[in-house]
Symmetry: C2
Subunit: 177 residues, 2 copies
DNA sequence: GGTGTTTGTGTGACGGAGCAACTATATGCC
DNA sequence: GGCATATAGTTGCTCCGTCACACAAACACC
């Protein structure tokens, strides 16, 4: 309880800040951040029940949706928010745990693929229903169809502005640019 | 196997995944994530120009907006996405850098306050205008007033659902609950 | 075909953050 | 008052991810 802060005794003469600290734009982004981290925390809790971290889940997901259920390391890095060395290490761990294996690229001997294993598919299969439930419960289901629609439109605008290289991002490939 | 009749050209027979991997709800959240991380990356780049990390910026901001420009360590942890030990360490660093100082709590000798210093206020003052520009450029300005309004409404719904303890979150104090 | 450059990946060192354990203080209950 | 319990903060340990660098293979250009 901050009741013990001597409110009156010192009228606290602070050096002023030239920017308005209560500008609604700050709180707007704060809302964005709280909503996002709140969601990811909920999801992380469920991932953990299945012995997965959020990045591991994302890796499994991205691999499972890719043609041949495989992706070159660099491409995987591009699709996740990881550096290439980060991908190296995640794939190391997941390889050790049997969720993923490395496979040489026949056409470019520098490259290697990360391929999701049967065990990886199994694990994903195990997590997905619950994940979808959470997604529905805390995100989709909180909004009316119209609200959801508006939100997705706005998010897409922001995403396209801020992350132009991945215009088609999640599902499709990046444009020729 | 009638090897002379190549049934399909697809050589990869995968164990099926029972959940639809292309459920639009996945991509909806993917959009959310890409927009958010895109924004935070932009911001982080500017913070770095002023020798600040995102969490340090947030700490400065929270302290500057709090009565007496101070916050108990635990409260600071509650307002940020950090654990209490995380806060201890951030405050250590920022104290070392002169942006913040610790001050004993007179009424509870277990507690200590983190107080933003003049240098901290100065640093914040230095970052804020540019930060506000970025906020405007990549977030607020991307949306029409109506879109922004809708988005904030939706975000608030999600935030309130997912993070009920901080109903008034960013600016106000949590409710008595 | 050699040589320089670019690209794909892995590695060592480092820093940040969480958990669990610990200390010190406060509080409740008798 | 005296003890049990709860709370505030710090610290040791560990994991995870990045950066800078190393190395190998592909490519470009002459």
């Amino acid at each position: 309880m901050p009741s013990n802060i001597p409110r009156v005794k010192s009228p606290v003469y602070h050096v002023p800040v030239s920017t308005d600290l209560d500008d609604p734009r700050f709180t707007a982004f704060g809302l964005f951040a709280e909503a996002f981290t709140g969601l990811t925390n909920r999801f992380a809790a469920q991932f953990e029940e299945h012995r997965l971290s959020a990045v591991e889940f994302e890796v499994l997901m991205r691999l499972a949706r890719s043609p041949g259920r495989r992706l070159r390391m660099t491409d995987l890095a591009g699709q996740t928010s990881l550096s290439t060395s980060g991908v190296t290490r995640v794939v190391d761990r997941m390889d050790r745990d049997g969720l993923v294996r490395r496979e040489a690229c026949p056409s470019d001997r520098r490259s290697s693929f990360a391929v999701i294993t049967e065990a990886g598919v199994g694990r994903l299969d195990e997590v997905l229903p619950g994940h979808l439930e959470l997604l529905q419960q805390w995100f989709i289901g909180q909004l009316s169809p119209a609200e959801l629609d508006g939100m997705l439109g706005s998010l897409r605008k922001i995403r396209d502005a801020v992350n132009p290289c991945a215009t088609a991002g999640t599902t499709e490939e990046r444009p020729a640019a």
